[in-house]
């Protein structure tokens, strides 16, 4: 009887010891493994944080550089020579859109053999001058078109008043943004290369731009 109790006691001791060891050892092992993983992860997160910070700094610098180039407050004109639209923009904002006329894209040959191709030039221009009641100095093609003899340069016969509307914006090389008496043709390719506008649109554009305003023709 006594022996039996002693054996039982021994068995219970062993059982408790085994449970104790298992319970104390297992969490310790798990802790060890997770500690090394946590360490690695911590290091990786730190490296990722550094990379994100570096990218943020670089992007902020680039953004600043691009914003400086943007001159958001500057007004500019855009002429769509295919769609015959003139748009007045400021930054990404459209201030006004007008129907315009652009070059006919047709060619002409004079009896003398001289050839002309009536196309609105494309690219980046600047308003070089602003005119009120502009005069038209008739170019050679204007005489050739009507089979008239071409007068010498500077001939007073070349000066024509009242055909370009109330205002004109000079773009250079003889090209202008001006008015027209052919209002019904606005929205089509009918000019000899200049950009034509209706009276109200012309006045608005003239009053809004200054010398140096950028004009983009495409």
């Amino acid at each position: 009887m006594m022996k039996n109790v002693k054996r039982k006691e021994k068995n219970v001791y062993w059982l408790v010891i085994v449970i104790m060891l298992t319970m104390s050892y297992a969490p310790a092992r798990a802790g060890e493994t997770s500690a090394s993983t946590v360490e690695e992860l911590r290091a990786e997160v730190q490296a990722l944080e550094q990379e994100a910070a570096r990218l943020e700094e670089e992007n902020s610098g680039l953004r600043g550089m691009l914003l400086n180039d943007l001159d958001n407050d500057e007004l500019y004109l855009v002429v769509d020579t295919e769609g015959n639209r003139l748009t007045m923009r400021k930054g990404n904002e459209v201030l006004h859109t007008a129907v315009c006329g652009t070059g006919s894209r047709q060619s002409m040959k004079a009896e003398t053999g001289t050839k002309w191709y009536f196309e609105t030039p494309m690219g980046s221009f600047k308003v070089l001058g602003k005119e009120r009641n502009p005069v038209w100095i008739r170019p050679d093609w204007s005489y050739a078109e009507e089979n008239m003899p071409v007068p010498p340069p500077g001939d007073p016969d070349r000066i024509v008043r009242g055909v370009l509307g109330k205002y004109a914006l000079i773009l250079g090389n003889g090209y202008k943004i001006h008015g027209t008496k052919w209002k019904k043709l606005l929205g089509t390719h009918f000019t000899h290369g200049c950009v034509s506008l209706g009276d109200d649109d012309l006045e608005l554009v003239h009053d809004s731009v200054k010398i140096g305003t950028r004009v983009y023709l495409y």
Binding site: M2, V16, I19, S24, A30, R42, L48, E82
Partner: protein, 180 residues
């Protein structure tokens, strides 16, 4: 009999003592729980940082593209496939805004943000223009029927007027940038 009762009490006491000892070891198990909590938090942070870095890299790529185009002398397109809007730009200037409608097979989800090259300007027999960006997609006017070899390609449609303007404005080799 009394002796055996006494023995049993003795054993019980010893067992209780051993369990008390065990209780001293148990807090170690709590450390494991704490570690796994931190592990989960770090994994979450790692995931969010990775997606943030990806977004920042995309943004940087776009900013660098714009920087290079500001000093280039050619017009380019920016296509926002999330908003279905496009822009025609020259240097730092916006020349034209437009909306587009993607075709049913347009891979908006699969198309990654980045640069594309206008590989071909095409006009069908009715002179309806389109811009082909490699094997990625075609930019075309509404109701344009593509040729059989182009029919498999996804496309985005703009109004006829916008299409004519865009077609006239850009040359083969011009760049487009896809943004989301």
């Amino acid at each position: 009999m009394r002796n055996s009762k006494c023995e049993a009490r003795n054993i019980r006491n010893k067992i209780v003592g051993l369990f008390l000892l065990l209780a001293v070891f148990l807090p170690g198990a709590g450390a494991g729980d704490q570690g796994s909590g931190e592990l989960a938090a770090l994994e979450e942070r790692q995931k969010s940082l990775r997606s943030k870095i990806e977004a920042l890299r995309d943004e940087q790529d776009f900013l660098l593209f714009q920087k290079s185009m500001y000093s280039a002398d050619s017009k380019y397109l920016i296509l926002n496939i999330r908003k279905n809007t496009g822009q025609l730009k020259y240097k730092n200037r916006l020349l034209k805004d437009f909306h587009f409608v993607p075709s049913k097979n347009f891979p908006a989800g699969a198309l990654k943000p980045g640069m594309l090259v206008l590989t071909k300007k095409i006009e069908d027999k009715n002179k309806r223009p389109a811009l082909m960006f490699g094997s990625s997609f075609i930019l075309q006017g509404k109701k344009r029927k593509p040729s059989p070899e182009q029919a498999k390609l996804p496309y985005i449609s703009v109004t006829k007027r916008d299409m004519r303007s865009l077609f006239f404005a850009v040359e083969e080799g011009a760049l487009a940038y896809i943004v989301r």
